[in-house]
């Protein structure tokens, strides 16, 4: 090998090494640990302890649901106050963490709303998310005694959750633009992105917001009778991640860590029971297991305010550690920025007790 060749080889080596070096520098990601708190009552001490153990920095708090009323248009159905959640967290002397208000809006709202009503809806929701937004808001906060909780909370981010479709994208995106216009510059606007929206941005569009948060769950319709797990099934989820194109909006991720039970009557959807677990079903004397996490009601029973009849079926759906690991593997494919939030849904002692400390910790650390 000539001297020149040796020099060329050295240059090539340095080039490749520097490329890898730069790549590895880039792959060191800045991950914020998040969790969703969807329940409309106080965080428990056990939940605060769990958040502390796992160094959760950001809590997405379910602020309100908005639905369509035929007489009154878009109206809040249930609502919460960020200050109440914060006050509960502080009462346990928890570490300070960012609270993000999340507003769920039904797609029906955007199917029915007139375009001219969108700015009013945007204003009303910004008022609820930000403190002392205008005179009307100050009056509301005073009436609701919100200023007494060590002052109102000013979030750095607000989030909207809507299963928008190709039909409603125009109105929903107009709504988001209006919200963005009303928000102070420093407040980020984020939205949830469902898997079908992630896969088909050409059809459902890309929301005009700062970031999206990809929901790596809700794989199928829970109302549909069958053996599937509507929360997550990796073989079904794969289909959503086979695109080579990067989603054209910076994405955060939210992974499933919850369970529920679904009641079917005459093979038709009857009700979802969030508080029921499979353990409850196993111990219920009026149920007979029929396999695949399904149970059949054997006699008339009133159980947790639910009137069950013989023949009713209850299906328990949950995410085990294996499912969660698979969801993480798949979610990696959607990462399109170096700095993002990974969250789990949802914060509840009943739910996180099903996972080991290591499993939860791995979710956050494996995406580095």
């Amino acid at each position: 090998m000539s001297c020149m060749d040796s020099f060329r080889s050295l240059c090539l080596f340095l080039l490749i090494a520097s490329f890898f070096f730069s790549c590895s520098k880039k792959s060191s990601k800045n991950i914020t640990r998040g969790y969703y708190f969807w329940r409309m009552n106080d965080v428990t001490e056990g939940e605060e302890k769990f958040l502390k153990q796992h160094g959760i920095q950001k809590l997405y708090v379910h602020l309100m649901d908005v639905d369509w009323s035929d007489s009154q248009g878009a109206i809040p159905i249930i609502d919460n106050e960020l200050q109440l959640t914060n006050s509960a967290l502080e009462s346990y002397k928890g570490s300070p963490r960012e609270l993000v208000p999340v507003v769920f809006i039904t797609n029906k709202t955007f199917e029915r709303i007139d375009s001219f009503e969108i700015p009013l809806l945007a204003t009303r929701l910004v008022r609820r998310c930000l403190p002392a937004y205008d005179a009307l808001d100050k009056d509301y906060e005073e009436r609701h005694d919100l200023t007494s909780y060590k002052g109102a909370i000013t979030p750095k981010e607000i989030q909207f959750d809507c299963d928008w479709t190709a039909t409603t994208k125009r109105k929903y995106f107009n709504f988001l633009r209006e919200v963005k216009r009303l928000l102070p510059y420093e407040v980020q606007l984020t939205v949830t992105v469902r898997l079908h929206q992630f896969k088909h941005p050409d059809k459902t569009g890309v929301p005009p917001v700062d970031r999206g948060i990809l929901m790596v769950y809700n794989i199928s319709d829970p109302k549909q009778y069958g053996n599937h797990n509507s929360i997550f099934e990796s073989n079904k989820a794969k289909a959503y991640f086979n695109s080579v194109k990067t989603y054209p909006l910076p994405l955060d991720l939210v992974l499933p860590a919850w369970s529920w039970c679904i009641v079917y009557r005459n093979k038709q959807f009857y009700q979802i029971e969030n508080e029921l677990t499979e353990q409850d079903l196993i111990h219920a004397t009026f149920l007979k297991p029929t396999g695949d996490h399904r149970y059949s009601v054997t006699r008339d029973t009133v159980y947790r305010d639910l009137f069950l009849r013989p023949g009713d079926e209850i299906k328990a759906e949950a995410i085990d550690e294996k499912d969660l690991a698979e969801a993480v593997t798949m979610a990696k494919k959607a990462i399109n920025t170096d700095s993002f939030t990974i969250s789990l849904f949802e914060l509840s002692e009943k739910e996180f007790q099903r996972y080991s400390y290591e499993t939860i910790d791995k979710v956050y650390s494996s995406l580095h």
């Binding site: 009323s69 035929d70 007489s71 009154q72 248009g73 109206i75 809040p76 009303r124 509301y140 609701h144």
Partner: protein, 440 residues
Amino acid sequence: MKPLIKYILLCISIILLPPRKVADACGFYIYPGEYRFWLLQPDIVNEPDLTPFYFASSYLYKADLYAGTQPHVEQNINEWYEITGHKASRKDIDSLLNGTPPQVFFEEQKKLGKQNSLMNFLLQPDQTELYEYMQLSKKIEQITAYPDPWDEQNHPKSSVTSVMGELKKLRSATNDPFIKLRTAFQLVRLLNFNARSKEAENIYDTWIAPVKTKSWVKAAALYQIALSYPGPQGDYLLSKVFDMGEYNRTMCLVRFENENADETIKLAKNTHEKNVVRAMKIFNCPGRSLDMIKEIYAAESQYKELPFLLLREINKVEDWLLTNKITEFPTPAVYGDDYWSNYDYLDNAALNYRNDKVYSKELSGFLHAMITSSYKQKALLHLYAAHLDMLNKEYESSSAHLTEADRQKNLPQNVKTQIAINRYLLDLENGFDKMPNPNS
């Protein structure tokens, strides 16, 4: 032995006499002031819509403003039954009007059309106006249940204005008096929600007041107008609604302010209206009211609420004379009410008892005078007199009045039962008085 047997029998009678709701209860504790002693049953006057105003027990009724029946609900079902030409069943009418949430109504009309005869009737091509009215009334049900969903406390609400526009359009298009009256009533309701009470009053005056109807809707519309007036004017209008008798009488009494009564009575246009105001004042008074009852009787001897007012007065006397004698409560229960909160009964117990006995006699004297007059409801008067005479230990007179009460024709079952109970109680009193004392 004699007092002990008497005590046991009285206790048994107390257990047997109170309404079934008491018998069904278990494990509850009653604080003094929550329960009154009474033996004359308030329901014999057949005014179940005023149950919360029975002078019986705050534990059972006063705290529950919905304890009274609501006659307008049944009337409404009947009015719809008639308007559908009996093609819809009463059960289905009740279900669609009172048991179907608006959202279900809007989203499941096809299904409802198959299951519910009223919905099926409304979906017929020749019933478009009635169907449209039902749609609007369901929208109004949504609005009134949740009038300010964003809690903004500002007016007017565009959603309310929009439904008002639809109501006006329907009202001007229809010739059906049923729809005309109801759309006007709904407009009055919505105008109040939009803080336009003057306009609501105009609509009442022009579109509702002149209508000759037996429908409950007219009283309900006036009730809405009354709510928009504070003070005596509002109370005067409430007295008119109360007198109509079809709508929300309990709430009329609850909203009526006794401290305004003297001013309110000045607004009354005739003797009858004045008596209605007086009666409402008495219903809200836990103390002695005989003088006002006498005023009513002198001015209008057949005033329809007199039987109830007299019965309440007897129940009061029962409480004052007997509660602390035969229960463990140290004072008549009524002294536990706010009305008497600053009064130390025990310091004046003996004097009070004597005064209450005198009052009992005075009330009895008034009843006896009424019996000899041309007052029509003789059976009740005799029964009342018999009861008071028994309390006053005038057993022969009591017995004679019971016999007279029993002789009246076409007595309702509850009155017959009360007569039988009084006869039994009287026999107990007489029987034991005549029993030889084994110790003597």
